[in-house]
Symmetry: C2
Subunit: 339 residues, 2 copies
């Protein structure tokens, strides 16, 4: 049965206060008493109640995990899975558990994320961006709760954010295409409303300009980072009066979709060049192996954890960090294809 601190105290013949002190490692409790109480706690499998504890202390040791989008889609996007996995690992070693908010609730009530965080009294939270952001996120951002954003720009004084250098991502892709002789370059962005899409678009435009390449507005399209959208958008591209030969997709998944589209259209895949973004596990296995701009997901997750920790401990505030991307060359735009 479920023991309470009171019962343990009685069994041990001490006061609640003493038991509590033992739980919390106070040093004003005698060695033999401590041993005896510990032994009793163990024997009865006593565990302090989290609710009671976090009510009394004002600390929860829980971090809220929030997918900023309206549809929670990114929960299973490989990029975010890896980022969150890394984040979880390092937060875990700091003693935090992760609370994933379901945004299905929004359909039934007027609750918002700030309310949820306050309700649970989380010590801090991580906000996953990459989509059009649910407006209530910004209330959270402005609040007193430490927040770290990934792929979303936060500006509150208890907020920080981290993302790969997005313009740089596009620059790397465009440069690679350029050096390979490609001139007809298309851009398949992610969710158009997201910051990262805008930044990647801007980086794309700028780098094209740098190389004196002209960007064809008909070749700028937007998906949602997932495979299906890459397929659809590539289909559209293939309908254009003039068809691009080099495709930069803002995610590997979309690049995979795009490749599938040209294959299914019956065209020769070798007539096209593809560069993706993320470098997910599958990218090296697909046909053709995908050249991509790698994001350091492990590092992003780890850094996010460090930042959040420091913010919770009030050691820092309001930072923003950019991580360098890296071009991974595989076979999806073999040099021989250009011209």
């Amino acid at each position: 049965m479920k023991m309470t601190i009171k019962e343990i105290a009685k069994l041990a013949g001490v006061s609640q206060a003493t038991v509590s002190k033992i739980i919390n490692n106070y040093d004003d409790v005698g060695a033999k008493t401590k041993k005896r109480v510990l032994q009793i706690m163990d024997e009865y499998g006593y565990r302090p109640s989290y609710s009671a504890q976090s009510l009394a202390k004002k600390i929860t040791k829980v971090i809220g995990v929030i997918y900023a989008g309206k549809i929670n889609a990114n929960f299973n996007h490989p990029f975010f899975v890896e980022v969150v996995s890394s984040f979880k690992k390092t937060m875990g070693s700091e003693g935090y558990d992760l609370l994933f908010f379901s945004n299905e609730k929004f359909h039934k009530s007027d609750e918002n994320y700030l309310a949820r965080c306050q309700h649970y009294n989380v010590d801090g939270c991580i906000i996953i961006g990459g989509e059009e952001v649910e407006p209530s996120i910004y209330d959270l951002d402005k609040s007193e709760i430490p927040c770290v954003g990934v792929d979303i720009e936060l500006s509150g004084k208890k907020s920080a954010y981290i993302m790969t250098d997005n313009p740089q991502i596009s620059a790397l892709a465009v440069e690679h295409f350029y050096l390979l002789g490609q001139r007809d370059i298309a851009f398949i962005g992610g969710k158009e409303e997201s910051v990262i899409s805008k930044q990647r678009y801007q980086g794309f435009i700028d780098e094209m300009k740098t190389y004196g390449l002209k960007v064809n507005p008909e070749w700028i399209v937007y998906g949602d980072f997932f495979e299906d959208s890459g397929y659809e958008k590539m289909e559209e591209l293939l309908q254009r009066p003039s068809i691009p030969k080099a495709i930069f997709a803002a995610s590997d998944l979309m690049a995979m979709g795009a490749i599938r589209a040209v294959k299914e259209s019956g065209r020769k895949i070798d007539d096209f060049s593809f560069i993706g973004c993320d470098d997910i596990v599958a990218s090296k296995h697909i046909d053709p192996p995908l050249t991509t701009v790698k994001q350091d997901k492990e590092k992003i997750g780890k850094m996010a954890a460090y930042i959040l920790n420091d913010m919770i401990k009030e050691k820092i505030d309001q930072t923003s960090i950019k991580i360098d991307p890296e071009l991974i060359v595989r076979a999806s735009c073999g040099a021989n294809k250009a011209g």
Copy 2:
């Protein structure tokens, strides 16, 4: 600033009790009073404290998510990501949030999962198997906390579990190979200690027997469900005095690794046939497109949620469910390759 129920009560000129009743939709509170209090709560952005609430009621509306393995690896395995994603969605619509336990804590203390669940007083939990299971899981299993297992057999009276019909998975694979004329079939299992590996192995053996095929013990190897292990195990297989021509891998990721291994060995990929398991997103894109035994991840997650819900509401107990697998034929064992 953070309001409490007491302050709201004072502002509204009513008692705490009345405010509480409004929060909890009691019907013994007057309409005008209710309106007034509601308006004040809204104005001050009042949110009841989760800790206080769950201390007073005995309900948390939180589900614990536990990866049974010692290393938490499955957190980012595509199969489990999709299962959990589906689970999350349907639990979310029932008003539950998900608490992911970090098992890093184990390195620092003697805490176990039951303790954690009791500590947080979760309403129920989902346990993700597929690995060698951390022993304390079974204490949880035997406890009063409703548990649903995925790919792990639970036996407590408040426990249930769900998994794909594993022997059937192997049977489908072996049959397909057989009908294609393959006779030299190897088996790359997942974590050898896991139930699902054992069941798939058994299914493999049995079906081989059914077709009068002899199983070569040298061709039975075990990885860990991830890509690297598939690569390594295939490398080993390629060292054998006699080399198998058909490989059934217990996960698509391992199949991908195996394919990579034969490619890198310089052998012709078309001389080998591969069947994977799971049907993850990438499988259709790889080279060659992977024939695989699909697991219905969406359904597994959803069913797990339904079961858990029913158990929490004490409508059922101790069920176990098997989901049918489905063979998805692609190009990785083209009929022309057999012989």
